[in-house]
Subunit: 373 residues, 2 copies
């Protein structure tokens, strides 16, 4: 039953592992591209797979509103609907409905909110969130929680976290166990060590096959995020995967892996790809910049993706300036490839005994060095 996690190697706090699921294995540390509306924007799923991604993330909030979880269930679940046979993790919808300032009302029962699409009223509770994720056929279901806003006082953070812990219990109770599927609990507690410990212990008491760390990457900055990880991951079981939600930039990921995190998701590579920003081995490039107008070099000489092997920076900039869809397609592909290259390099480093200690930007440059001409 549930998911199985195998810890294959450690180096300091960094961990190399594998999660086996009903939809295939996930090599960890893993980066999950975000496929909000049943598509990783501007990418075909087979091309996302070709970058090295093992698992995608889908968004419960968007899918419940359009095309609806019931429709996706009628069409065989999200894997079949979007033509991605591999594992899919869905969020609980909590984060997104909490963001609907003025359009939602929270109670002990759950959150009542209005759709951003047509203004219709909906209710999300732990039970309904778990039901939707079941209808979507999520490989990994997330417990319904409140992502505590930042900054919060300790008493605000405690109240929010304890509500999330009660919802975590209800989420676990509502989850229907199936072989190779599982539900993850989410640690909250903002930046307060006592609250993070209390939250982790509450979740361990309930018992989950994986633990997420929520409420970070919400404005606290990298230093405080790392500090919070430092006093949080030690309270989590070593034999279960750990997922840092919504993170992040490449250096954030490198630093979090060094602190014992196994899974990540972020819209950064895909959103940046649609706004002409590229992550490369020589830094982040803005392809709108006139200095690339006549640049015959590839985007990233160390990258084997189609954008880097088939085109010049001059061509990519032309596509961006002409607002051509192919520009978004190629830059998205490259950014996803860069992120997966980073994850592969992190896994190889841990396998070789590298504990990834030190300045994460330096770790990044060491693992993904700029190609020499």
């Amino acid at each position: 039953m549930t998911l199985s996690f195998e810890l294959l190697a450690t180096a300091g706090d960094a961990r190399l592992g594998r999660i086996d699921t009903a939809h295939g294995p996930i090599r960890t540390p893993a980066f999950m591209p975000v496929g909000t509306a049943a598509t990783v924007k501007a990418m075909r799923p087979e091309d996302v797979r070709a970058t090295g991604a093992d698992i995608l993330l889908g968004n419960t909030y968007h899918l419940m509103l359009r095309p609806t979880a019931e429709l996706i269930a009628r069409h065989g679940g999200l894997h079949k609907f979007m033509n991605w046979p591999g594992p899919i993790l869905t969020d609980s919808g909590g984060f997104q409905v909490m963001s609907l300032a003025g359009l939602r009302k929270m109670t002990e029962e759950g959150v009542r909110f209005r759709s951003h699409i047509d203004g219709s009223y909906h209710m999300l509770t732990p039970e309904r969130s778990i039901e939707i994720q079941y209808l979507l056929d999520a490989t990994i279901t997330m417990a319904f929680d409140e992502c505590t806003p930042y900054p919060a006082t300790q008493s605000q953070a405690a109240e929010s976290m304890r509500l999330s812990m009660r919802w975590a219990r209800r989420s676990k109770d509502a989850f229907i166990e199936r072989k190779g599927y599982g539900v993850f609990g989410i640690v909250q507690g903002s930046v307060f060590p006592d609250l993070r410990r209390e939250s982790a212990e509450a979740l361990r008491e309930i018992g989950f096959p994986g633990y997420a760390i929520g409420g970070l990457a919400v404005g606290e900055g990298q230093a405080q995020m790392f500090e919070t990880l430092d006093f949080t991951t030690h309270h989590l079981p070593t034999d279960k995967p750990r997922y840092l939600m919504g993170v992040g930039r490449p250096a954030d990921i490198a630093g979090a892996v060094a602190r014992g995190v196994d899974m990540f998701d972020c819209v950064m590579p895909t959103r940046s790809g649609r706004t002409a920003q590229a992550f490369t081995r020589t830094g982040e490039l803005n392809l709108r910049n006139a200095r690339f107008a006549d640049d015959p070099a590839p985007l990233d000489a160390g990258c084997a993706c189609p954008a880097c092997t088939g085109y010049s920076r001059a061509y990519l900039r032309h596509l961006v300036k002409a607002e051509e869809i192919l520009g978004m397609m190629l830059l998205t592909w490259h950014n996803l490839q860069f992120y997966q290259d980073l994850m592969a390099a992190l896994r190889a480093a841990i396998a070789g005994g590298d504990n990834l200690a030190g300045d994460p930007e330096a770790v990044l440059r060491r693992l993904l060095p700029a190609a020499t001409a």
Copy 2:
């Protein structure tokens, strides 16, 4: 020198052939996807090739303004710049600058116009158009002409056509001959048999390795277009390819092939793909339509493209409604595949002695029958 054309078979007026070029062969009848701004919109070039396309069309007007022909020349020509190693035909820019009502002034010398991008002034003459197409490294260069507006009186059409014939002479004189490259003349004369004959004879007198038929698909309707083809193609040499510019819908193409046309281009499949219109073996479908919301069937059961083999109509409609880029990508791919499947079916029919006579819609249904469940 120049291009070579081999006529492999005929059936009635329909022709099966092959053009050999410096960038590879073109199987005729051929459909050329339009790659206006050095990209077939929403498609990677290798995927365009995978649909069966042998040759693309590029637009001189757009490319001369952005990124400029000189920049493309510095980057090794359009083939290398856009990663399409196969043949490319470029138009002369004439059609597009003539469409800039109020922003252009025509004289015997050429056309002075203002850029739609930044309002800057430019001049296109036969000599400059040919130079730009040389800088782009066009496999097939088009003579600079005026696409006679429709409707036109016979004297307007005659004056316009005779200007185009003088420009055709200047275009041919300006063209630099290279092995496997060529310049095509363009027959004008609106819907007037005497003018079309006069134009065809004037071009044959100059001598070209291929002849285009211009000034059609401009509002005259399919019946008059076919009638004009009927009295035009007989004046063209049988040993040279014939290109009907800017055509068209599938039935237009089937009917024109039956009348001896070898080459086509049209934005229809790509533009329709971006506006949720699909060409299928069961007719044209609008994927915005609510009747597809829960339809588990593939877009076109007879099609082997990724959109048809990987997804349901329900999923494609979801992408369209959610304004997802993947919707435009998949529908564009499908439409290009449909057009290339049509061209392959036309070629196979001619090879088998089918003269494609009769109602072109019936020919279409006969060549691309709806798949049975």
